[in-house]
Symmetry: C3
């Protein structure tokens, strides 16, 4: 994953343009079935419309002494995203109105965009900005902002049921690593793993979109189907560093996505952080959880956006993520998906306890002291299988990881003492 991250990191992505197309082409090497879509400028979607396409070739500032002091070719964050072309000589005072720096990260280039108002700007470190002297500066941005299209990727993996899981990540950030090279990389590898599974109970909808406008467009075309089928969804973002594990819950806070995410991290990373939808949301969960959309979507992150010092600066580079960091994000999501794949409603086939020894499920000499947990798990699975509770609810009631109960399912289903179904069943067997 780290190698793939290194491949796509240098590209200059924005909410449209060739950087996005190149990124998706690289991801296709891992998941050839990834479909790349183009949406024409001006296409309406809810309260929005697809903006013009932006592409950039070069951009720099030449100082009064003739030195190229700010150079897009050295770092693509030096030009504010969606800057219109400019080629002028201006004084320092006017230049200042087009400069963006952040005082509390004096050595880093900040990340800035102006998608919905035409302007141009340069981003630079605060230290560099403060060293600027009066004089005539040459500013040059060789960009185009013109009718074109917005590009996104989509991979639909059908399963045994129409119930589907959404994985959503975004491809609109330039050269930053945790936010957001890690999301597309981890999502690509999850897609690759899912593509290779012999059996998928669930279907998967995996999208690589520009943030905000991408999810709004996608929802404007697919929300109805998604509302019908989605049992859980996850925004995959900031999943590459080595620090926290984080959940930013859905607006409702207790959807299946939230419950499975908390369940997995509680049992595997008990020191994970839970953020607030009201005060910490920031990515496409804003759209997936909007009133009337109300999809069960949470954000899964290592160190969440806005919550780590390098966030939205040039310091969020490849040193900010690691193979282990990416693997941690991948594994958490894989585990979550495994629990969703095993999600079911078990129901006893007989009234009262089955005679376990008859079914080969019980030691024949009683010795009830200090039974191992596996014994409790199997017996509890049977004792709580009333058809109305999912295995996740049973696991939560028992304080046990769902996957450890799921390990026993095959045995007891094969022994004929339980059946399982995808949804709640009418109360257990009639008397």
């Amino acid at each position: 994953m780290y190698a793939l991250a290194a491949d796509i990191f240098p590209l200059c992505r924005s909410i449209s343009g060739d950087g996005v197309r190149q990124t998706l082409k690289i991801l296709q090497r891992e998941i050839p079935a990834l479909k790349i879509h183009e949406v024409p400028t001006g296409t309406p979607c809810f309260d929005w419309e697809i903006p013009r396409e932006w592409n950039i070739r070069d951009g720099y500032i030449i100082d009064p002494a003739g030195a190229k002091i700010v150079d897009f070719k050295k770092h693509n964050m030096h030009v504010m995203s969606y800057s219109v072309p400019v080629d002028r000589e201006i004084g320092l005072e006017e230049l200042q109105e087009h400069l963006i720096s952040v005082a509390d990260r004096p050595n880093d280039i900040p990340y800035a965009t102006s998608y919905y108002r035409e302007r141009w700007g340069f981003c630079l470190s605060h230290a560099q900005r403060q060293a600027l002297k009066a004089g005539a500066y040459r500013v040059k941005i060789d960009s185009t902002l013109a009718p074109g299209s917005m590009t996104y990727g989509e991979l639909l993996l059908p399963g045994e049921t129409e119930q589907e899981v959404l994985l959503s990540t975004y491809t609109c950030h330039p050269s930053m690593a945790n936010n957001e090279t890690s999301g597309p990389v981890v999502t690509t590898f999850l897609a690759k793993w899912l593509s290779g599974l012999k059996r998928r109970r669930l279907s998967y909808r995996i999208v690589f979109i520009p943030e905000t406008i991408g999810s709004i467009y996608y929802l404007s075309r697919h929300a109805e189907a998604m509302k019908r089928n989605t049992i859980a969804g996850f925004v995959v973002s900031c999943v590459g560093d080595d620090r926290d594990y984080s959940i930013l819950p859905s607006r409702q806070g207790d959807t299946l996505a939230d419950r499975v995410a908390h369940h997995v991290l509680k049992h595997t990373r008990p020191d994970y952080k839970t953020y607030s939808f009201a005060y910490d949301r920031g990515s496409d969960e804003r759209q997936y959880c909007a009133p009337g959309i109300d999809l069960p979507v949470a954000v899964i992150s290592r160190s969440l956006f806005e919550k780590y010092p390098e966030y939205h600066t040039s310091a969020d580079d490849l040193s900010c993520i690691s193979p282990a960091g990416l693997a941690g994000g991948y594994t958490a999501l894989k585990h979550i998906i495994e629990v969703l794949e095993g999600y079911c409603y078990p129901k006893a086939t007989t009234l009262c306890e089955p005679q376990l020894s008859k079914h080969g499920l019980y030691p024949t000499v009683g010795a009830q002291r200090n039974q191992p947990m596996a014994f409790h798990d199997m017996r509890n699975l049977i004792a709580y299988a009333d058809g109305t509770k999912s295995i996740l609810e049973i696991a939560d009631e028992l304080g046990r990881p769902a996957w450890q109960l799921q390990e026993h399912l095959d045995a007891v289903v094969n022994a004929g003492v339980l059946t399982v179904s995808a949804g709640p069943q009418a109360a257990a067997p009639k008397i």
Copy 2:
């Protein structure tokens, strides 16, 4: 308010009689629309009937030495309320059976009544009582207890909707200040403020009644309409001293009245006290919350009845309340009413987030670090406006004062991104 309190404080009020009439006449100076009703003795109401009317002109005890030692004209609490006439000479032993004092407040006259059994009595300080010597005492009470009527005041203020708020206070206590000169005074000024509003979304039912029999009578005539229209009600009592802020919740405990009261005091007076309906109730909330009545009515107080040392003694005089104390009670209730006036169910007009910059609601350059709370409030108002949650529920979920969210409502409604309605709306816009 303190001046009005000083005007009505000296009057000898009871559950009927001229003291009540004079009190209501004085309140009419501030709220001329106050309607004064008379209910004839013997009128049945639920398990009760209106008692005879009581009036008193004089009452005293002359001691064996000829000194007038207990004198209604010096303090109207010296005669037990509803005392029948007496004019006799009796020995100390028999007199003792007619004396009421309280040992733990030895210098104060206690407050006593005998509405429903004919008797006579004098109240005096325990110190004075203990100094009494054997001998012949002259006892004289010049009162009448005769068919007449019970008097109460009522002010109905119509609003844009039939949904109404009840304010209920009582006018049956003689010369005590916090309990209960403050209630009628604060309620009068709230009524005056509400009468002068250009626009009232809600209707208001404001009653000045004798405690218990007054609310029972009033409910026997109006409970059906009140149950249909009342969204919240408050017993206004003990709202004049400078100590606590208190809520005595409704029996149900979580009505809109309770929720708004807690919400306002939590954000403005976080050290307020919450009492128990079961063990601390004592005023007309007993009737408003009785089984089958079940109105959403809580008590709002500064220092609640029974919970301050001067309670129900002559020490609860004008020094026990203050302009600031009354203003505190008034302001808390005004705030509560303002939240009720602004109570609504906001609903987004578009699916997904609206494009805030298009509607002039968003800074056009992204700079997401450390946004001010006003930014969160406006965005959260939109993000949570699903039509099914009131602004109070949203505010509680966000941990924010409802009135700070309400400040943004006009802006976003005018921008066309939200609508509001008085009750829950069907789920947000269809896809």
Copy 3:
């Protein structure tokens, strides 16, 4: 109770056989109406069938020196329950495969059974086992395992309503005292007390059954009626020692049985222990609470099975229980039953407060400070009697023992201000 315990303690009980019959005959001395049922071997019941009947006359081991070292006649736990006959000479090595001892209780004989796989075995102390020397041993078990029947006792006590309470205890353990001589003894005395009551509002179903197969059989024949009528049930087990009071809740955890049990012990034995259905269940609550059965049944114990050191060993002898221990278990259950007998839904007969003084329920001179709790209880009973809440719910809301509220019921019902009914009533009187 202790004398009865001493009478039945010595008998060799199992899930079938003459020891059970003799035990039930002894219990009939106290409750002559106890009906003894026989269920033939092979009778199917849910996933099970009634096993063959087991009886034993003798069993011993003679060591190489000719000494009878393990002797059923000295302690009936020396032979594993349901051991098939044997009469052989074998070496120590083979003998070891048939010996059962417990290392952590080195001086006690452990309790073992093999109901569903044919084998034979001896139980002995670990100390004795370790002292065995190589050589030829004579093993002899004079038992029969043959078609016959399973024996159980049943006492049905009809009441004024069909609503019934289940008491279930078990008669399948050999000579152990707390688990399980105490259960049949305490249940017998509860049955005796209930039989003698002049008036029973509720009906009672009291069963003395072998654990597991007994409750499974009984449910296979009676579950439908029990599901229709049972408002609460209790497994009575381990109710004779002097240590804990314990509740093992039903699977649902909040049935009426659970709520009354917690209520009584909270107010009488506040340091009682609450165990986990998932991890501590062990007796017939496993069947009564199985999916599809779902009866409201909790276990009431002193020191719960598995939770005290002598459990399932010969150390659980008559010294492990005491008259006071049995009385404690009896009293807790009697109290629980009394609350169930008094369980009702009170409803006010008038709107607003009744005029208490008119009904002789109120002091006629107001003196509201420091009212005694009885005053609060009576007033609260009336104030909360809205017909939708049981007296238990009211008591819990008030933080008061239900039986103290129940003490006032007769007075207020006789005064005509309340009525009571067995179930929830439509909302209180119409306006």
